[in-house]
């Protein structure tokens, strides 16, 4: 079971995909070109300050709006280790799983932490913050399979005999 620790960035409710990655950047050729603009309508400085291993903690309905998969991709590309939110929008959830971005639903932690705090995550068990444990609910088996495979692309490559 994987355990990791990271610094927290806090966002509120209903963080939509137009905030996570505005439409005007969708025509950039690569995710790397897009990532400096992640969250720019709301927090223009954020993308530049996120370090690999950091954790985003948000309120309800994170990722609502468009089906643009570039949204979870840029979050992953910025090095965010996982997103913990009270709830996730549906399409964003699937897209994140397919890209190997770990999402964790927990309704209490977002109200407890402050930006800059450190938390510890024991995947599929609990989050550890200031000595208190916040239990995490397991993902369904079929989603765990995709994550285990390393994402949907790897799973398909395996199916096409391109990967072991």
């Amino acid at each position: 079971m994987e355990t990791f620790t990271g610094k927290v960035w806090c966002l509120g409710d209903d963080i939509d995909t137009d905030i996570i990655l505005p439409t005007e950047y969708l025509v950039f050729k690569t995710i790397d070109e897009m990532k400096p603009y992640a969250f720019s309508p709301l927090r223009p400085e954020l993308a530049g300050r996120i370090q690999p291993g950091d954790i985003i903690v948000a309120g309800n309905n994170f990722g609502c709006g468009s089906s643009r998969e570039q949204a979870p991709e840029v979050v992953k590309a910025l090095g965010v280790k996982c997103v913990i939110a009270k709830s996730f929008a549906r399409i964003f959830f699937r897209n994140a799983i397919n890209n190997g971005l770990l999402l964790i639903e927990n309704s209490e932690l977002p109200d407890a932490v402050s930006e800059g705090d450190e938390i510890s995550v024991n995947v599929n068990e609990a989050i550890d913050y200031k000595g208190k444990k916040y239990p995490i609910v397991s993902l369904p088996d079929n989603l765990l399979e995709i994550i285990d495979a390393g994402g949907l692309v790897k799973a398909m490559r395996r199916r096409n005999g391109l990967e072991n």
Partner: protein, 413 residues
């Protein structure tokens, strides 16, 4: 036990009785691929190791977000779309015919009871003809292109009954805005919304389309209505036994049932910057308007243009208001042209553009700057969607939008 519409569709697809929570693999009857996502779809397709599309008649490739091109990079996605279609023998290619969600039903692709996926969140739109349709990302789309199928988790259903006669100045847009306001933006996450009642029965397919289109704004997986005689006429088919069975059974299990009286709906807006912050226009006070946008897959159809023309006939928009009209498809543009609607709107001072997503997706088509206020008939008013984050977007019906363009402030018809 009885079933909801979505349970019937997925049962039909899985060839066994399914219930909410079940994971099933379904075959896609059609998939919708829009230009702005094509470069990533194709790249993932290739990265996955696929060389041939599973069934070239299944995909429909539609160029709508980036036509006409407003940035030099737009043509890249356009060429990738056309080249991939050619390479794979995909004949269903629309280069400049209008918005994807309009064309999928208008051009006859989606039929009642089908299972459809699209790389755009408003793919819920085709629920208006009783199809299961939902938005997905480009990686999953690539996997469907290669395999023809996708896993889904059967959703629970929220049933929404609407009965009675809508007031004259109320359109289906006002209905769905109120419902989203009540449900909230995540109130239907993972759920299927099922709409019924005589108000729905009396609505045109175009009006139903507006409702299904906005289902995603409450987080819904799909937003369906039972196919009926109007559906049959719209789709140009006779409903077969399966399609005729696609209504919610009296003993079906619904997670939630909401009942509305049509007479209670009023002209409404979603205020900046969330779709679920809905208020009656009468409660707004004086809000001056800089721009009005009539268009999008939500409200760019002929009946929407007619509704606006009726309000504006013989009148002119207020000075210094930009009034932008973007019909949802080439077919609609032609019809509006031939029946004099575009004439009326032009006389009213409209800037009439070519059919496409236009301002809705916020790349071009009427972008705004700090302090500007827009009344728009599309489906989203998120922060920064149509320009800077200090632009205020109010979502409204075509009638309200037209009335606001005349008045120079937000009013109902």
């Amino acid at each position: 036990m009885g079933q909801t519409i979505i349970e019937k569709i997925f049962s039909h697809s899985a060839d066994r009785i399914v219930k909410p929570g079940d994971i099933v693999t379904v075959k896609a009857d059609h998939v919708m691929l829009d230009d702005i996502m094509m470069p990533f779809i194709v790249s993932k397709f290739r990265e996955m190791g696929f060389t041939k599309v599973f069934d070239p008649e299944c995909p429909v490739i539609i160029c709508d977000h980036l036509v006409p091109a407003s940035q030099v990079d737009d043509t890249r996605a356009y060429h990738i779309s056309c080249d991939f279609a050619k390479e794979q023998g995909i004949m269903n290619l629309h280069r400049s015919d209008g918005i994807c969600h309009q064309l999928m039903t208008e051009a006859g692709y989606v039929k009642p009871g089908q299972v459809v996926f699209g790389t755009d969140s408003h793919t819920t739109t085709y629920g208006c003809v009783g199809a299961s349709s939902t938005g997905i990302g480009y990686t999953e789309m690539a996997s469907i292109l290669g395999t023809g199928e996708l896993w889904v988790r059967v959703p629970a259903t929220i049933r929404i009954n609407i009965n009675g006669k809508l007031p004259d100045n109320v359109m289906s847009k006002d209905v769905i805005l109120k419902i989203i306001g009540d449900l909230t933006a995540a109130g239907a996450t993972y759920k299927s919304l099922e709409f019924a009642g005589d108000t729905i029965d009396n609505m045109s397919v175009a009006s139903r389309m507006t409702i299904s289109n906005m289902g995603i704004e409450a987080g819904a997986k799909c937003a369906l209505m039972a196919p009926d005689a109007k559906t049959s006429e719209y789709c140009g088919i006779e409903l077969d036994e399966y399609q005729q069975s696609l209504f919610g059974d009296a003993d079906a299990e619904y997670e939630q049932v909401l009942n509305y009286r049509a007479e209670d709906f009023v002209p409404s807006v979603a205020v900046p910057s969330n779709v679920d912050h809905v208020l009656p226009i009468s409660e707004l006070g004086d809000i001056a308007v800089d721009e009005v946008f009539l268009g999008s897959c939500t409200n760019g159809r002929l009946e929407d243009l007619h509704a606006a023309a009726e309000v504006m006939k013989g009148k002119h928009k207020a000075d210094f208001v930009k009034f932008i009209v973007t019909p949802a498809s080439r077919k609609i543009y032609l019809e509006a042209l031939r029946d004099g609607t575009l004439d009326i709107l032009s006389d009213a001072g409209a800037i009439i553009t070519h059919p496409g997503c236009g301002l809705c997706c916020g790349r071009t088509g009427g972008i705004m700057t700090d302090g500007e206020v827009v009344v728009a008939t599309n489906n989203r008013n998120f922060l920064g969607r149509m320009g800077t984050s200090k632009v205020k977007i109010y979502l409204a019906s075509p009638k309200s939008a037209a009335a606001s363009a005349l008045a120079g402030k937000i009013v109902s018809a």
